[in-house]
Amino acid sequence: MNGPSHSSAGGASAFRPAAARTHPSALSHLRRLEAESIAILREVAAEFRKPVMLYSIGKDSSVLLHLAMKAFHPAKPPFPLLHIDTTWKFREMIAFRDRRVRELGLELLVHVNPEGLSQEISPFVHGSALYTDVMKTQALRQALEMHGFDAAIGGARRDEEKSRAKERIFSHRSVTHRWDPKNQRPELWNLYNTLLVPGESMRVFPLSNWTELDVWDYIQLEAIPIVPLYFASLRPVVERDGALIMVDDDRMPLQPGETPQWRSIRFRTLGCYPLTGATPSTASDLAAIVREMAASRTSERQGRVIDRDSAASMERKKVEGYF
């Protein structure tokens, strides 16, 4: 408390900075977040006719899945998992997905947009915007409609992005899956209006109040398995438009003069390999990752090529039905 603070200005005796106090039996920060998320998951199970949990295989999804296992223990979660497979996910993600589902004995539904598949939609050929719309947004809407799900649980957090910061925990979608940011249902206390007009649906975000650091702290605390791509290792990459893109399979067309380099990299966020930039890193365990994040000067979504289209690109995608 040195320096030119008010304490030298006289009359400061009225104010003594002190550590904030908590009740001795109050829940810790992570346990409170955990309890809130579990309560939200149970609310979904109790209030909706046919809920589903979106499973994207990333670290947030891993936390979400872990919380769902806790929420209904000793029973299994009373809803299936749904993976929207763009066919361009990292191979390690798919292997991890299948292993986790098998270990936990859960029901997994996988949906690929059949039109996108037949037209061979590729981020390399058709660009990230069209590709994302067809293989992610449209595919998700197809799957939700096909199974008649009235609630879809996702792992989005409010600290990820500015338009996410304004989204409700129970986020109402119209019959056409649109999000109306100006007409959101008010959410007071822990009360969620879960009533829907037939055809409407709900997106539910139990991790709304978690930060990126909370997610990593919790993964460490609970020893939650995550895809190995989050840990640094030698992987083949090429540098494109300032992003390090991993050459995950032979569908990636190399441009003249491009040769994959083996570099020690890891991913802060996981998605489709052609759209996910890697970070040069040697952080090969959780402690090292948290240390590296502390020193980092960029946000996690910086690695996502699709978010960079414009400042409002996420808001527009969300209005259209993207998660």
Binding site: M1, G3, P4, S5, H6, A9, G10, A14, F15, R16, A19, A20, T22, H23, S25, A26, L27, S28, H29, E34, A35, E36, I38, A39, R42, E43, A46, K70, F72, H73, P74, K76, D159, K162, S163, K166, P181, K182, Q184, P186, L188, W189, N190, L191, N193, L195, V197, N209, T211, L213, V290, R291, A294, A295, S296, R297, S299, A311, A312, E315
Partner: protein, 631 residues
Amino acid sequence: MAAHSAILGRTRESAWTQTDDRPTLRLVTCGSVDDGKSTLVGRLLFDSKMLLDDQLDALAADSKVAGTAGPALDFALLVDGLQAEREQGITIDVAYRFFATRRRRFVVADTPGHVQYTRNMATGASHAELAVVLVDARKGVVSQTRRHSHILALLGVRHVLVAVNKMDLVGFDADRFTAISVAFRTMAEQLGIADVQCIPVVACDGDNVFGNSGRMPWYDGPSVMEHLEAVDVSDGIESRPFRFPVQWVNRPNPEFRGFSGRVAGGTVHCGDPVVVQPSGRRSRISGIVTADGRLQQAVSGQSVTLLLADEVDASRGDVLTSGTPPMVTDHIAAHLIWFDDEAMRRGRRYVLKSGTSSIGAVVSTMKHRVCIETMAKESALTLEANEIGCVEVVLDRPLVCDAYRDNRDLGSFILIDPFSRRTVAAGLVDAPLRRPANVSWHTLDVDKSMRARLKQQKPCVLWLTGLSGAGKSTIANLVDRRLCELGRHTMLLDGDNLRHGINRDLGFTSEARVENIRRVTEIAALLVDAGLITLVSLISPFRADRDMARRRFDDGEFIEIHVATPLSTCEARDPKGLYKRARAGELSNFTGIDQPYEVPEKPDITIDGGALSAEAAAELIVRHLREHHYL
């Protein structure tokens, strides 16, 4: 900036790597339009070094395009997330922001200052322990400040930090700051807000935001961040009576039956006796189950699954309790904050959601509206969007609740429109209006008047008599629909329709006619006992039959309505072709043709069916019900 780092004695790295358990302070920011709320929040994020290079680059770029701060960084752009808001330069929704210092973590709800967005302010306040109220030093305490402070007091936010902003624009005038502080404290005292800290700031320049300001040497109190880091907001919820709304009954196999939920007050231990409300059944906690093993105790805020020692029935919506019993009541006094563009309608049915219960509810009485600026009680018939009022609410079945001041989770509710499914209001329980105390509802004798009171109507039978084709069924149907729209509980007994079921065995002899009327009368009496407004549409041509029916009911319950349509008109309408057949001799004992119709001597209502439209007739009947206080 150097001063700030020195005071904090920390870097961004320490804020991120500390995995100790810094407590979280949840705060809400509020103030009038352009008071600088978003700027203050953006500044707190900036000064706590929570911004990253790519976010700073984006901010610099955005500031050039949309900023209102000239060449400088426009911190409001950090929190004004939605495209429409950026273009209009205003915040239109609640945004949640997260940051941390070495002492505390913070969750900020940034809420708008527009009059029409009071609901967002209330939303933010419902999650907050402390409020930061922005006041423009040039304008002082304005009506918006009073409005927001009232909402804060109503929602039980007991700690307020008043940031008197734009001090640079009043020449850093200490007297101006003192005057505003006194004005705010006076108001806060009236409202019962106990803890007020006023701080003079210049949000965009950071004066008194993190460290102190060299430009206001006369101020010797804490900076905004110093106060936020130190303030004690514990509310002692852990030591209040135990409350556990059952969310989900966990029954994976016949051997395991657990009640999942989140402790909403107090602490529970293994072995504690509990009472299941509203049934009033007693049992004991025989286990506290989590995925991490069994626990000996669970505290407020914890999500667990409880096992009971006895096979007592409990399901979603029930509450496990101990200590001071909660209210178990179907009639409450409450404050409502109305949100919806469609005004509140007394007598209309809404869904009330409280804890894990959803119950049909009717606002039975509008006691008064509260003027948000003066806090005066005003007489009013309804509540419009963003208005606050005191009401009485009658519920379809008993609700387990506490007064809001005793327990936020058990004392709060929302009202949902059952048709649009919109959240139309937020409510706070003040008191029960009838207190069955610890007596279970099911053990009470429920009589007609109790059922009627529950439905907020006076049950009666509307007996429509008249010639075939007079329009009885059409009018009865319209009245029925109109009453349903008004949220009333009704039933329509149509003579023709009853002959398809319960009266299928009856013909048209005079004995059969008497038996027909007797049966309809008995059914109507049961429905009136059930509290319903019952419509009977029956030719019932004989006075004696109608008098017999009238005698079956209490005084004032039987309303005789003569649908007096001239025979010629009925015969011309002949909707079922019966007159034609009667004239042809195919039907005998047909009223008006070969059997007389005895006109009622003193009907309660006479409808000139030849002149009045069915709609007008229906309106006439509904008006009669209103004027005679059946509705």
